[in-house]
Protein backbone atom coordinates (compact mmCIF):
# COMPACT_ATOMS: atom_id res chain seq x y z
CA UNK A 1 0.00 0.00 0.00
CA UNK A 2 2.82 2.32 0.96
CA UNK A 3 4.66 1.41 -2.23
CA UNK A 4 1.66 2.45 -4.32
CA UNK A 5 1.65 5.88 -2.69
CA UNK A 6 5.32 6.26 -3.59
CA UNK A 7 4.56 5.25 -7.19
CA UNK A 8 1.78 7.86 -7.38
CA UNK A 9 4.23 10.48 -6.11
CA UNK A 10 6.76 9.45 -8.80
CA UNK A 11 4.06 9.80 -11.46
CA UNK A 12 3.22 13.26 -10.13
CA UNK A 13 6.88 14.33 -10.43
CA UNK A 14 6.91 13.09 -14.04
CA UNK A 15 3.78 15.17 -14.75
CA UNK A 16 5.55 18.27 -13.37
CA UNK A 17 8.54 17.52 -15.62
CA UNK A 18 6.22 17.25 -18.60
CA UNK A 19 4.95 20.78 -17.81
CA UNK A 20 8.57 21.96 -18.15
CA UNK A 21 9.01 20.23 -21.50
CA UNK A 22 5.76 21.83 -22.73
CA UNK A 23 7.36 25.16 -21.78
CA UNK A 24 10.25 24.42 -24.18
CA UNK A 25 7.65 23.47 -26.80
CA UNK A 26 6.08 26.92 -26.45
CA UNK A 27 9.29 28.99 -26.05
CA UNK A 28 11.69 27.41 -28.53
CA UNK A 29 12.99 29.85 -31.15
CA UNK A 30 12.96 27.44 -34.15
CA UNK A 31 10.59 24.64 -35.18
CA UNK A 32 13.09 21.79 -34.48
CA UNK A 33 13.45 23.13 -30.91
CA UNK A 34 9.71 22.75 -30.41
CA UNK A 35 9.78 19.24 -31.88
CA UNK A 36 12.51 18.33 -29.37
CA UNK A 37 10.15 19.47 -26.62
CA UNK A 38 7.38 17.33 -28.12
CA UNK A 39 9.64 14.27 -28.28
CA UNK A 40 10.64 14.71 -24.63
CA UNK A 41 6.93 15.03 -23.78
CA UNK A 42 6.33 11.70 -25.58
CA UNK A 43 8.91 9.83 -23.52
CA UNK A 44 7.76 11.40 -20.26
CA UNK A 45 4.10 10.57 -20.94
CA UNK A 46 4.96 6.91 -21.65
CA UNK A 47 6.92 6.74 -18.37
CA UNK A 48 4.02 8.39 -16.51
CA UNK A 49 1.54 5.92 -18.03
CA UNK A 50 3.57 2.88 -16.93
CA UNK A 51 4.04 4.27 -13.41
CA UNK A 52 0.38 5.30 -12.99
CA UNK A 53 -0.76 1.93 -14.34
CA UNK A 54 1.03 0.23 -11.47
CA UNK A 55 -0.07 2.86 -8.94
CA UNK A 56 -3.78 2.76 -9.86
CA UNK A 57 -3.69 -1.07 -9.68
CA UNK A 58 -5.37 -1.59 -13.06
CA UNK A 59 -3.29 -3.80 -15.31
CA UNK A 60 -5.25 -3.12 -18.50
CA UNK A 61 -4.04 0.49 -18.41
CA UNK A 62 -0.42 -0.49 -19.17
CA UNK A 63 -1.50 -1.67 -22.64
CA UNK A 64 -2.24 1.96 -23.51
CA UNK A 65 1.42 2.78 -22.86
CA UNK A 66 2.55 0.18 -25.44
CA UNK A 67 0.17 1.47 -28.14
CA UNK A 68 1.13 5.03 -27.25
CA UNK A 69 4.90 4.42 -27.43
CA UNK A 70 4.52 2.85 -30.87
CA UNK A 71 2.14 5.48 -32.29
CA UNK A 72 3.20 8.84 -30.86
CA UNK A 73 6.55 8.50 -32.61
CA UNK A 74 4.78 8.60 -36.00
CA UNK A 75 3.64 12.17 -35.28
CA UNK A 76 7.22 13.25 -34.54
CA UNK A 77 8.47 11.55 -37.72
CA UNK A 78 5.81 13.22 -39.82
CA UNK A 79 6.55 16.72 -38.50
CA UNK A 80 10.30 16.13 -39.04
CA UNK A 81 9.64 15.01 -42.63
CA UNK A 82 7.50 18.10 -43.29
CA UNK A 83 10.16 20.44 -41.86
CA UNK A 84 12.76 18.87 -44.12
CA UNK A 85 10.70 19.35 -47.28
CA UNK A 86 8.77 22.48 -46.49
CA UNK A 87 11.63 24.82 -45.69
CA UNK A 88 14.25 23.87 -48.26
Amino acid sequence: MELQGALTLAGLVVVILSVLSVLRCLLGPTVPDRVVGLDTLNTLVVAAMVVFGAALDEIILVDVAIVYALLSFIGTLYIAKFTERGLS
Binding site: T8, V15, V22, C25
Partner: protein, 80 residues
Amino acid sequence: MEGLAHVGLSAIMVWLALMAVRFRDLLISVVTLAGLGLVLSLEFYLLRAPDVAIAEAAIGAGLTTAIYLIALRGSRREEE
Protein backbone atom coordinates in the same frame (compact mmCIF):
# COMPACT_ATOMS: atom_id res chain seq x y z
CA MET B 1 -2.45 13.35 -4.82
CA GLU B 2 -4.13 12.25 -8.00
CA GLY B 3 -6.26 15.40 -7.93
CA LEU B 4 -3.11 17.51 -8.23
CA ALA B 5 -2.21 15.66 -11.42
CA HIS B 6 -5.69 16.34 -12.84
CA VAL B 7 -5.38 20.07 -12.06
CA GLY B 8 -1.89 20.28 -13.58
CA LEU B 9 -2.82 18.43 -16.75
CA SER B 10 -5.96 20.52 -17.29
CA ALA B 11 -3.94 23.72 -16.84
CA ILE B 12 -1.40 22.59 -19.46
CA MET B 13 -4.20 21.69 -21.86
CA VAL B 14 -5.87 25.11 -21.62
CA TRP B 15 -2.51 26.85 -22.03
CA LEU B 16 -1.55 24.76 -25.06
CA ALA B 17 -4.91 25.39 -26.74
CA LEU B 18 -4.61 29.17 -26.22
CA MET B 19 -1.09 29.23 -27.63
CA ALA B 20 -2.13 27.10 -30.62
CA VAL B 21 -4.64 29.79 -31.55
CA ARG B 22 -2.21 32.66 -30.98
CA PHE B 23 0.84 31.55 -33.01
CA ARG B 24 1.10 33.09 -36.51
CA ASP B 25 3.22 30.25 -37.94
CA LEU B 26 0.77 27.42 -38.63
CA LEU B 27 3.41 24.66 -38.41
CA ILE B 28 4.06 25.68 -34.80
CA SER B 29 0.30 25.54 -34.18
CA VAL B 30 0.29 21.94 -35.47
CA VAL B 31 3.17 21.02 -33.12
CA THR B 32 1.30 22.58 -30.20
CA LEU B 33 -1.91 20.72 -31.12
CA ALA B 34 0.05 17.43 -31.20
CA GLY B 35 1.25 18.21 -27.67
CA LEU B 36 -2.39 18.89 -26.66
CA GLY B 37 -3.37 15.46 -27.99
CA LEU B 38 -0.63 13.76 -25.96
CA VAL B 39 -1.63 15.46 -22.70
CA LEU B 40 -5.34 14.78 -23.36
CA SER B 41 -4.54 11.08 -23.79
CA LEU B 42 -2.77 11.04 -20.40
CA GLU B 43 -5.80 12.76 -18.83
CA PHE B 44 -8.19 10.10 -20.21
CA TYR B 45 -5.76 7.49 -18.90
CA LEU B 46 -5.89 8.97 -15.40
CA LEU B 47 -9.70 8.96 -15.55
CA ARG B 48 -9.41 5.16 -16.09
CA ALA B 49 -10.79 5.03 -19.62
CA PRO B 50 -8.18 2.92 -21.46
CA ASP B 51 -10.21 2.47 -24.65
CA VAL B 52 -10.75 6.22 -25.09
CA ALA B 53 -7.07 6.79 -24.29
CA ILE B 54 -5.98 4.34 -27.02
CA ALA B 55 -8.28 6.00 -29.56
CA GLU B 56 -7.02 9.45 -28.55
CA ALA B 57 -3.39 8.31 -28.79
CA ALA B 58 -3.93 6.91 -32.27
CA ILE B 59 -6.04 9.76 -33.63
CA GLY B 60 -4.67 12.72 -31.71
CA ALA B 61 -0.98 11.93 -31.94
CA GLY B 62 -0.72 10.30 -35.35
CA LEU B 63 -3.67 10.94 -37.63
CA THR B 64 -4.59 14.56 -36.78
CA THR B 65 -1.00 15.73 -37.18
CA ALA B 66 -0.72 14.00 -40.56
CA ILE B 67 -4.01 15.41 -41.84
CA TYR B 68 -3.20 18.97 -40.72
CA LEU B 69 0.23 18.78 -42.32
CA ILE B 70 -1.22 17.49 -45.62
CA ALA B 71 -3.65 20.41 -45.55
CA LEU B 72 -0.79 22.79 -44.71
CA ARG B 73 1.19 21.60 -47.72
CA GLY B 74 -1.61 22.83 -49.97
CA SER B 75 -1.71 26.32 -48.44
CA ARG B 76 0.65 28.98 -47.15
CA ARG B 77 2.52 28.48 -43.89
CA GLU B 78 2.09 31.95 -42.45
CA GLU B 79 -1.25 33.26 -41.24
CA GLU B 80 -2.32 36.68 -42.57
